[in-house]
């Protein structure tokens, strides 16, 4: 540690860190646009420039290392003027669509223009009118709003290791696009939406299905039901200014009812059901010499990743549908029969922390008799918008429970919302299925936390079960390559596409950062710690479903409704 002087104040800095990182720690804010935590600085936008005594020109603080005794001015007239100019240049060909823009209110560019008091146009460029690519079921690309900061390219390449998009062309003709300027739907994009979270503007956004949902709600012929994923109730609060990490499941359910949904179901219920099927599948594979290691299948980005990059592992994927799709299938079969409703009249909505779920719902396997199981998928963000639009005030709603028959869940099902959660839930139930006894400690510490790759050996009866938990699909190739080289000690692998799992999904509130991800994850752990129904196999409502309808895990009905298959995909990779 040594000292540097910033704006006349002495602050600590460590050798090797950047100026920006020292400033951040001291609570001195410098704006950034292209900077990404945990990735190498690119220094592309230069909005973070500061003045350093004795150095010519302005210094980009995001990429320049601190030196002992440095004297820095972050807000000198020169620095402020430079930032203003950069903002004005970015705005020169911007469409200025703020009023109609999905990012109105949380756009970084708009925020900077406001902060720096940009009140008139000094540079007038031709307004960009790039194409809007709406071909993807999950992501909309609007090139006219792109400021070429490169964050989407970097997250896609360096974090997710998909590289679906890149800079195309040069100079004033540069755009961000998939190979051959193709549309996103035929590219290697896995629909994870991490680029949407990274994008400072409205250039990348989710494909919205709010209109479809509103129309269905207004249609007296339709019975509109909704399910909510485990990670939504611990993050949606942030959209309403409530402290990050607050679980507002009850209030959220009440809000959904006020919006007019006939039934509100909890996807964590079908997470419990997934565990019954998936743990049984694992036990079956182990006992009969089936393909191992088995890999989880609830993250649709990961599924597409395997289908296009590693088709040789398709047989390793669990055949279980994701909880969203299990719920979808049950709503239009069991629930419809029970209530005597024509499945064609049901409009089934799901609220997900995820953009890839929109893609999943449209996979041709996900329905029967030409009826899709899920009719519309909304992200956490879209649902928050809908609640705001309807003027529902969270302070005045009284918490309500989700509806039967799919309303009760164990905390194991709830843990699905974070990395390691599926594994922990599955181990609890696999242990019970194999030994007839509960695990001594239900909490499996080794699979918790935000590390991208976690491994453990867990004793289940006489069996030493090797497990790996991966979050951030870019971390998967390491383990997959080891498997190709003959690694044999793993039985079960959980992969969640987004770094941190669904709590960090591409459909979550825009201001998703590491700290928020941690608090959301912690909220899930707290639920697990404080409630008593902690295993999927102990969920009475799930047992009831088996007794009444499905009969047994992996049985005939289960195969028809709850399992699926995957196919190799030919896309330009």
């Amino acid at each position: 540690m040594f000292e540097i002087e910033v704006n006349g104040r002495i602050i600590d800095a460590s050798p090797g860190e950047t100026i920006l990182s020292a400033l951040k720690r001291a609570g001195i804010r410098v704006p950034t646009l292209c900077h990404m935590n945990d990735l190498m600085p690119s220094g592309a936008c230069r909005i973070c420039v500061v003045e350093v005594e004795g150095m010519r020109g302005l210094i980009p603080s995001c990429s320049y290392p601190v030196q002992e005794g440095m004297k820095i001015k972050t807000n000198s007239a020169k620095a402020i003027q430079a930032r203003k100019t950069i903002i004005e240049l970015l705005l020169a060909n911007h469409p200025d669509d703020c009023l109609y823009c999905v990012r109105n209110g949380n756009c970084k560019l708009q925020g900077l223009a406001e902060e720096y008091g940009i009140r008139e146009r000094h540079f007038t460029g031709k307004k960009s009118r790039g194409n809007i690519d709406i071909t993807s079921p999950s992501i909309v690309r609007d090139q006219s709003k792109c400021i070429l900061c490169g964050k989407c390219v970097r997250i896609c390449e360096e974090v997710q290791r998909v590289s679906a998009i890149d800079f195309v062309g040069r100079g004033s003709k540069t755009v961000i696009a998939p190979a051959f300027n193709n549309n996103l739907n035929v590219s290697s994009c896995i629909n994870c939406g991490q680029c949407v979270l990274a994008c400072p503007t409205g250039a990348l956004r989710e494909k919205s299905y709010l209109r479809e949902v509103s129309e269905a709600l207004a249609d007296p012929e339709k019975i509109v039901v909704v399910q909510h994923a485990p990670a939504v109730s611990v993050s949606i609060a942030e959209e309403f200014g409530i402290k990050p990490g607050t679980d507002i499941a009850g209030m959220m359910v009440a809000a959904f009812k006020r919006l007019g949904f006939k039934k509100v179901f909890d996807t964590s219920y079908t997470a419990d059901l997934t565990i019954m099927e998936e743990a049984s599948e694992l036990v079956h594979r182990v006992k009969t010499g089936g393909v191992l290691p088995m890999m989880t299948s609830c993250s649709p980005g990961w599924i597409k990743y395997v289908e296009q990059f590693y088709p040789e592992f398709i047989d390793n994927l669990s055949t279980c549908k994701s909880p969203q799709q299990m719920m979808g299938a049950l709503i239009k079969s069991y629930f419809a029969e029970k209530e005597g409703i024509d499945p064609a009249k049901i409009f089934s909505v799901s609220v997900m922390p995820c953009t890839a779920k929109k893609f999943e719902a449209g996979r041709p396997e996900m329905g029967r008799n030409n009826i899709f199981d899920i009719d519309a998928v909304l992200t956490t963000r879209e649902m928050a918008r809908m609640i705001k639009m309807h003027g529902i005030d969270f302070n005045s709603v009284v918490p309500e429970e989700a509806d039967l028959p799919f309303g009760t869940r164990s905390t194991a099902g709830k843990l699905f919302g974070g990395t390691g959660g599926v594994m922990e839930a599955a181990l609890r139930t696999a242990h019970f299925l194999i030994t007839g006894k509960e695990m001594k400690s239900l909490k499996v510490e080794q699979v918790r936390g935000l590390d991208g790759v976690k491994e453990a050996k867990i004793k289940v009866g006489d069996l030493q079960v090797g497990v790996a938990v991966i979050s951030g699909v870019g971390n998967a190739s390491k383990i997959l390559e080891q498997l190709k080289e003959g690694r044999k000690d793993l039985h079960f692998i959980e992969v969640m596409t987004c770094p941190g799992g669904c709590v960090a999904g591409g459909g979550q509130p825009i201001e998703t950062d590491k700290e928020k991800i941690k608090t959301r994850l912690q909220a899930l752990y707290t639920i697990d710690q404080t409630e008593t129904l902690r295993t999927s196999h102990a969920n009475k409502a799930v047992q009831e479903l088996y007794k009444e309808y499905l009969k047994e895990p992996l049985g005939e009905k289960s195969h028809e409704l709850l399992h699926t298959h995957y196919t190799k995909r030919d896309v330009l990779v």
Partner: protein, 162 residues
């Protein structure tokens, strides 16, 4: 056939790394006339580079094209001398007449268009070159006449015995 071309080029770069990307792209284009999707994918596998990256790099340089050249390949000079004497409007005229942009090939495969830096024919500026034939001192209106000749040739070619 195109597979063979790419394979041959890649054979000559057995332990190629990423810095060989440009030379490889150049060789493939030289032999194939353009960079096909298939070629990009193959090169990507060879160098362990995603297709998006290769396309990104290739579009950064003006020299690569991604469509097979047409029966008549048109070079429009955008060098300094031609620029000063109005090559921008010549290019615009060609683009308008053929409804293709630089780097593209018309749907019927007859015309393709490429912009080049300087053809060393500055005395003739602004100049275009079609299959080796130079046309000098052009202006917006003249472009059409020239292209009409080639359109007619293309028609005759189709009708004739060949």
């Amino acid at each position: 056939m195109s597979d063979d071309i790419v394979n041959k080029v890649l054979e000559q770069h057995p332990d190629a790394r990423r810095d060989s990307l440009i030379p490889i792209l150049q060789e493939v284009q030289e032999r194939q006339g353009y960079l096909s999707k298939n070629a990009v994918v193959k090169i990507g596998r060879h160098l362990r580079l995603p297709a998006s990256k290769i396309y990104g790099v290739a579009t950064f340089y003006n020299q690569f094209r991604f469509q097979r050249t047409g029966k008549f390949h048109i070079l429009v000079c955008r060098g300094t001398a031609c620029h000063v004497r109005g090559s921008a409007s010549v290019l615009a005229a060609v683009e308008k007449e053929l409804k293709i942009k630089a780097g593209e090939t018309s749907k019927d495969g007859v015309f393709s268009l490429e912009v080049v830096a300087c053809m060393g024919a500055c005395g003739l500026a602004p100049v275009i070159c079609i299959n080796g034939e130079f046309y000098a001192n052009l202006e917006f209106g003249k472009v059409r006449e020239i292209l009409d000749i080639y359109k007619k040739k293309a028609e005759e070619g189709k009708a004739g015995p060949q």
